[in-house]
């Protein structure tokens, strides 16, 4: 509870400003893009850090939650809803069938079921219209469209992510070890497959032309050159808030319960800790973080592609958490910023995935508790101290005329 806890946070803010100043002064403003994207990816990683490092539950499906946030946001802000808003009930079915993309599929749904599916969609969209959630825009061909305002879409996207996380988490979090890993991996693949096969989400092309997200006043999230510095700060502040929230949770009764569950679930139960509730809570929270990152990143990039949904991305997040030290938020943040930045700069070229797999292999093999740990530093300090002490001693003895003969050489002679 003391003020020292906030020291890393203060350092983070200081670094945020310092990096901006250095970059702006050296005129290397193109670095801002990758740093900003790294900020957003770091938010996903922090959520996973809470889930894996603290609660001890693995998830190989976090790219799925990221994609839910990003794709929902992109779809809601670029899809033309005017036909649904203005259409009669009969026509609704036709629009709804688009959700399922391919033509064969559309023909398979009996008309009545289609109409039934259409009712909630029409109601939802109609309600949104009443509350003024829609704003006019243009599509790729310059035609006028009516889609959700980013702020309204934000709520819908995040609620969707939370809902799906609850739905998936409730059954899946009862599982342990390999079963949990496979189940979450399966979830990730399902999301990826759905995105690939659904017209509404752009199939293999993804969604582009996502509009800017106007916050207050002149602040807006977009990838424009002019707003690079502003967006750097917006992303930094969002990450900062997520960090503070995570830090608070970790150092609280909830964090303790999570670590207790990690330590021994049965013993935690015997202390009155409802393991399922806390596991679900942290799972939903981490899914929410991933979705938040997705929502904002899609506005920043202006587009989203299917590579974001792949299993490789999920594994990448896991490897960053593992390398950062599982249960050390700041280590994970440092690792994530470093690795994501280097990766986004294209430093590894086509060896990107290999690099992340290697990091995972080496940390898991030799340093299962992460690269950044205080213990390692202590070991190194201890060893060097011992070594220097021995050297000093040796020199002292040599000064007195006692020389250590090299035994092997003597033997050879």
């Amino acid at each position: 509870m003391n003020i020292r806890q906030y020291l890393p946070a203060a350092v983070f803010l200081g670094a945020l400003v310092a990096v901006q100043l250095v970059i702006s002064l050296t005129g290397a403003a193109f670095y801002f893009t990758q740093i900003t994207m790294s900020f957003y990816y770091t938010i996903v990683v922090i959520g996973l850090c809470l889930l894996m490092g603290y609660a001890g539950q693995i998830s190989l499906g976090h790219a799925g939650f990221f994609s839910i946030g990003a794709y929902m946001q992109a779809m809601l802000t670029t899809h033309d809803f005017s036909s649904i808003i203005h259409s009669s009930w009969d026509e609704v079915f036709k629009n709804v069938s688009q959700i399922f993309g391919t033509v064969e599929w559309y023909e398979l749904i009996p008309e009545k079921i289609g109409a039934i599916l259409g009712i909630p969609v029409k109601l939802f969209v109609g309600l949104g219209d009443i509350f003024g959630m829609f704003v006019p825009g243009t599509d790729g061909f310059g035609n006028g469209i009516l889609s959700y305002a980013p702020s309204a879409a934000l709520f819908i996207s995040l609620l969707t992510a939370i809902g799906i996380a609850c739905l998936i988490g409730l059954p899946v979090l009862r599982l342990k070890g390999h079963y949990l890993a496979m189940a979450t991996l399966g979830f990730g693949i399902i999301i990826s497959t759905i995105v690939f096969g659904t017209k509404l989400f752009g199939e293999a092309d993804g969604i582009s032309r996502v509009p800017a997200f106007h916050l207050v006043g002149p602040l807006s999230i977009n990838g424009g050159m002019a707003d690079r510095t502003v967006n750097y700060y917006i992303a930094g502040i969002i990450l900062f808030i997520v960090l503070i929230v995570s830090m608070h949770i970790v150092a609280s009764r909830v964090g303790r319960a999570l670590r207790a569950i990690h330590g021994n679930e049965q013993a935690a139960g015997s202390l009155g800790i409802n393991a399922m509730r806390y596991k679900l809570g942290v799972f939903v929270l981490s899914a929410l973080f991933a979705a938040i990152a997705g929502v904002f990143l899609v506005h920043y990039n202006g587009s989203i592609g299917t590579s974001e949904t792949s299993v490789l991305k999920s594994v990448r997040y896991v490897s960053i958490v593992a390398a950062g030290g599982m249960d050390s938020i700041w280590g994970v943040v440092a690792m994530s910023m470093g690795l994501n930045f280097v990766s986004l700069r294209g430093y590894f070229g086509s060896f990107d995935e290999i690099f992340f797999a290697l990091i995972l292999v080496v940390t898991m093999l030799f340093l299962p508790r992460g690269l950044f740990r205080k213990e390692y530093l202590e070991v190194v300090i201890k060893k060097t101290r011992r070594l220097t002490r021995r050297m000093v001693l040796k020199r002292k003895l040599e000064k007195k005329g006692i020389v250590f003969a090299n035994k092997k050489k003597d033997d050879e002679k």
Partner: protein, 352 residues
């Protein structure tokens, strides 16, 4: 749907299912001796098939497949030796392997790009190998801390490493092995049902594999020793069984059968570097369906999933094909994690 179409789907389902069954059996063999799920199982299959495809251009097809199986088996042994084994004594083999990895990393990062071609490689090895030995010496003691979580993550990393290395050694295109008899137009007709003779090959070889494994586990010395390991490591050790060797053999066997299955089915379903992870999750669904560790139930499970998938294509869009298997997996995991053919009480005794 008419009867002919039904049987066509059935044959397709059986051949695809046979492949899943072999992957699932591979999971089971490793799970039984080590208690871990090897996520790289699907990549073993692709690796074997890829090697066989490359070899088939210069060697007769049978020998090419043999080479593929051999390479996969050796790779399985290497994976076990380097990544899975948790001995605390110094392992020069692991050091060298890690050193090679480090060297390749240094090379790819272009740290030695200022040196002329060829010499930069040597320089990378010069720096990489000590890194391997250094890691092994300094951090070996932390290996005992490996938990289930870290082993899961480790095999996933191996899986990705394998597929990415394959994508660089070969390319990112789909490859096929030539048909064993005739070509893609050769058709075997059985009454009104017609299918490729390759499907007979797949089913025949997979059936032989299953019978062979049955004989191996039931009657041979090593097979029995491996079954003993699956029941109790300590007891097996006390009986003088070399548990460590059995674990290595289990990796070799499961990689080899996967490679064989992958080669046989390659003419029909193509082979691509990134198919491993989907195969792995489907194989896992099958292993779960039959109850983890139970290889014969896995055969039944594999065929069921294969047939389900074949028929699902006639109902759902092709793009959603994989969803069927994974939904099945999720449903089984949620409602009956001990498997359809497994016993609930026995599964409660397992570690996870």
């Amino acid at each position: 749907m008419n009867v002919d179409l039904f049987f066509n789907y059935l044959v397709i389902g059986l051949t695809v299912g046979a492949q899943y069954a072999i992957v699932a059996i591979g999971f089971n063999i490793i799970y039984n001796t080590t208690g871990i799920i090897n996520f790289a199982q699907g990549d073993f299959l692709i690796l074997g098939a890829m090697v066989a495809i490359s070899m088939s251009s210069i060697l007769p097809i049978g020998i090419a497949i043999g080479v593929g199986v051999l390479v996969a088996a050796v790779y399985g042994a290497v994976v076990e030796n380097v990544f899975i084994r948790r001995n605390r004594s110094f392992s020069p083999f692991r050091s060298v392997c890690i050193g090679i990895i480090a060297a390749l990393l240094l090379k790819t990062l272009g740290i030695f790009s200022f040196l002329p071609e060829g010499i930069d490689f040597a320089a990378a090895f010069l720096f990489g190998l000590p890194v391997g030995f250094g890691l092994e010496t300094v951090f070996r003691k932390y290996m005992k801390e490996q938990t289930v979580l870290s082993l899961i993550v480790l095999t996933i990393a191996v899986s990705i490493l394998t597929r990415e290395i394959m994508s660089h050694l070969w390319d990112k295109d789909a490859h096929v092995l030539p048909y064993f008899i005739g070509d893609s137009n050769t058709i075997l007709s059985l009454g009104s049902i017609s299918f490729s003779p390759q499907r007979i090959w797949v089913l025949g070889i997979c059936a032989l594999l299953v019978i062979g494994l049955y004989v191996f586990f039931k009657y041979t010395r090593y097979g029995k020793a491996m079954r003993a390991c699956s029941l109790d490591h300590t007891a097996a050790k006390l009986c003088g069984i070399n548990v460590r060797l059995m674990i290595t053999i289990s990796f070799i066997v499961s990689a080899a059968i996967a490679a064989l299955a992958g080669s046989v089915i390659s003419p029909l379903s193509q082979t691509k570097y990134d198919m491993g992870s989907v195969l792995a999750i489907k194989g896992f669904s099958v292993a779960i369906l039959g109850g983890l560790g139970n290889s014969f139930a896995a055969v039944a499970g594999g065929l069921i999933l294969g047939i389900l998938e074949a028929f699902s294509v006639s109902i759902f869009p092709n793009a959603y094909k994989d969803v069927v298997a994974i939904l099945l997996l999720l449903l089984i995991l949620v409602f009956k994690p001990s498997g359809v053919f497994g016993s609930r009480q026995a599964s409660q005794l397992k570690e996870f």
